[in-house]
């Protein structure tokens, strides 16, 4: 694949910037609910607060690991970055300009620059399309290759991700889980992106296959100068791949720091708890000491710091006031009131 000429830019300019992104999903009342409300009942619409004023900066060539438990909003954030979802509030900037600025006809390459790789290698491929169509459709539609040159182009992309090009006429069900992951990656690469959002891209794979796919990510990054937003619940995987780690809890970013810093000096109580829970090969026969409780419902997130009901250090201020993300060390941000008490 030939690299597109880079547009001139400041070296320090972030490739992607999110400012104050919030996302709320509201389920509309059904007919019975609307009638009940008209009659004065207390039926009301339910709102899931998936993201709450999230800021994120990703610089060119960086791998940012986004970590959190289910329901923390990490996938929603990934989808907003990939433009699959629109945010309720907030701004998305690509190379310093709002996403909308690229909607004119001349900016096709920039619009295709962010691509997504999905978690489930079984559900994210159309079972009725041959692999040549799965990978080749988008580049033809977007005019990156001629229809006549498609098969050759598909073969090229397939060999980049370690798939045998002679399998292009097959259907997804004829492939193993690891091969399907590679197909998903090839599909994203086919439109020559700059930025990949990988949403739990290796979670469904066996350990030995997972290592193969992670190696592919490392190789592709060097080959094409890609930038990744790597979403995962697996701290081991994130630690291996990321330059910077962002920890989310219930729709908010609680900590963000360079990878080594997070693992050697975690600041936020949630990050510390999360690191302590990770099963590891080194910790043979240890006694598990779990943190209490479960992640609360995003339908009614707790007031103040979202982590306070489970936090061993929570005080009155934590129950009332949401802590802001503050820099506690160079490029190490954490959202915890405890950092201010002397």
């Amino acid at each position: 694949m030939n690299a597109r000429p880079d547009t001139p830019r400041e070296p320090a300019m972030p490739l992607l910037e999110l400012r104050g992104i919030s996302k709320r999903f509201t389920s509309r009342l059904d007919l019975a609910g609307r009638i009940a409300r008209a009659l004065g009942a207390s039926a009301r619409e339910q709102t899931v607060h998936a993201l709450d004023r999230v800021d994120l900066v990703v610089r060119p060539g960086e791998v940012v690991g986004l970590v959190g438990e289910s329901g923390c909003g990490k996938s929603t954030l990934g989808r907003i970055v990939a433009r699959i979802l629109e945010p309720t509030e907030g701004e998305r900037l690509w190379r310093g300009r709002a996403y909308g600025a690229y909607d004119n006809a001349g900016s096709r390459a920039e619009r295709l620059a962010v691509q997504m790789i999905f978690q489930d290698p079984f559900a994210s491929l159309n079972p009725r399309l041959r692999i040549a169509d799965v990978i080749g459709e988008a580049p033809v539609v977007h005019g990156l290759v001629d229809r006549a040159a498609r098969d050759e182009y598909v073969a090229q992309v397939m060999s980049k991700v370690g798939l045998d090009a002679s399998l292009a006429r097959r259907f997804p069900h004829q492939f193993s889980g690891g091969q399907r992951s590679r197909i998903g990656i090839a599909r994203a690469l086919a439109v020559q992106p700059k930025f990949l959002v990988c949403d739990e891209a290796v979670a469904a794979l066996d350990v030995s296959i997972q290592a193969q796919v992670l190696n592919l990510f490392i190789k592709l990054r060097e080959e094409f100068g890609l930038t990744y937003l790597f979403i995962s619940h697996d701290l081991g995987v994130v630690r291996h791949l990321s330059d910077r780690v962002v920890i989310m809890y219930l729709g908010r970013v609680v900590e963000s720091a360079p990878c080594d810093e997070v693992f050697s000096r975690p600041n936020h109580p949630y990050t510390r708890a999360l690191l302590a829970e990770v099963p590891s090969l080194e910790a043979t026969k240890r006694a598990y000491v779990p943190i209490r409780g479960e992640i609360p419902s995003p339908l009614e997130p707790p007031a103040g710091c979202h982590f306070h009901p489970r936090c061993p250090h929570a005080g009155d201020r934590c129950r009332a006031e949401a802590p802001a993300l503050r820099e506690i060390a160079p490029s190490h941000l954490s959202a915890c009131h405890l950092n201010e008490t002397p």
């Binding site: 690891g178 350990v207 291996h240 099963p279």
Partner: protein, 322 residues
């Protein structure tokens, strides 16, 4: 060494399909003693779950136990009739599945389901069964068990449902629990809580536990002994420390080396090439030889089990040095 509660010897579970014979479990042997935790580790298709199902007599047609013995507290389970099985399952041997909704009936309240499990095996009144149900829920860390007894499964989160499933497994004080990836679908912090509770329960009540998982790092913190399975066979077994710190089978070594935390950050991970072979009409010889870096000419003949140290078993022609 105390006598084994469960002893599996040369177990073979095969599936006779139209396409051919699938040897899902092929000559598997291990033993579990009271109060100990055995980890059964392997990738998908390695036969680890089918080994668990075979012990409980849950193998459906076209699958069949073709050979071997499963001795549980002196009885050979492969010879039991349906009535004897029913007395055993959920009573002296319990199973926890990966998906708690496989255990729970979605349209029955939790109390109905637990009381049913108790009264199926013990002649007790509904009231005393309810009291035992309440106690079981409290034991697995479910807050306000009285209210939760009246709830339906869909009222619970994934982690809470798994706790209810564990409570049902524990309610008749079984001698052996078989847990099939019970924490795989759960978040790290919830997994931590459940591992903690299972470990505590086994220590306190002397229950033996077989923990089936694909995740070696879970086993590292939980189990006493480990069996590593590949393509229906146990390729290596021993104590956790022996296996994690000194793996000798090339497959075990490869698995441990491909865990990200064992690799230098950002460098390519050590990887095992290729993928698990299809179990359908598997060629004779060591099933790992196509992917193995230490393959020798003799690998076309299936290796026998060797026991280099007491309790340490290995199935390889050319293992790593101890």
């Amino acid at each position: 060494m105390s006598s084994a509660l469960l002893e599996v010897e040369g177990l073979r579970t095969h599936f006779h399909t139209k396409a051919g014979v699938v040897r899902a479990v092929d000559d598997v042997s291990f033993r579990v003693t009271r109060g100990r935790i055995l980890g059964l580790v392997g990738e998908s298709g390695s036969g680890k779950s089918m080994t668990g199902y075979s012990i409980l007599g849950l193998v459906d047609a076209p699958g069949r136990i073709e050979g071997g013995r499963i001795t549980f507290d002196g009885t050979d389970l492969t010879r039991l009739d349906a009535a004897a099985w029913r007395r055993l399952r959920g009573n002296r041997i319990a199973m926890i599945f990966q998906d708690p909704m496989m255990t729970l009936n979605p349209v029955l309240r939790i109390d109905t389901q637990i009381v049913e499990a108790i009264r199926a095996h013990a002649d007790v009144s509904r009231e005393s069964a309810l009291a035992r149900a309440r106690e079981a829920l409290a034991r697995v860390g479910i807050p306000s068990p009285d209210e939760r007894l009246k709830a339906y499964p869909h009222h619970f989160s994934g982690g809470m449902r798994q706790r209810v499933a564990i409570a049902i497994a524990l309610v008749n004080h079984p001698d052996l629990i078989i847990a099939d990836e019970p924490t795989t679908a759960l978040d790290v912090t919830i997994q931590g809580q459940i591992l903690f509770e299972m470990q505590k329960l086994c220590r306190e009540s002397g229950t033996a536990l077989i923990w089936i998982t694909h995740d070696l790092s879970v086993i590292a913190g939980l189990a006493d002994e480990v069996c590593v399975m590949y393509a229906g066979r146990v390729v290596e077994s021993g104590t956790v420390a022996e296996i994690i710190d000194g793996p000798r089978h090339p497959y075990t070594r490869g698995l441990i080396d491909s865990v990200p935390s064992r690799n230098e950050r950002g460098r390519p991970l050590h990887q095992i090439p290729g993928m698990t072979p299809s179990l359908l009409e598997l060629a004779p010889g060591c099933p790992f030889r196509e992917r193995c870096e230490r393959v020798v000419a003799g690998c076309t003949v299936s290796p026998d089990v060797s026991e280099p140290l007491p309790g340490r078993r290995l199935r390889c022609h050319n293992p790593h040095a101890a």
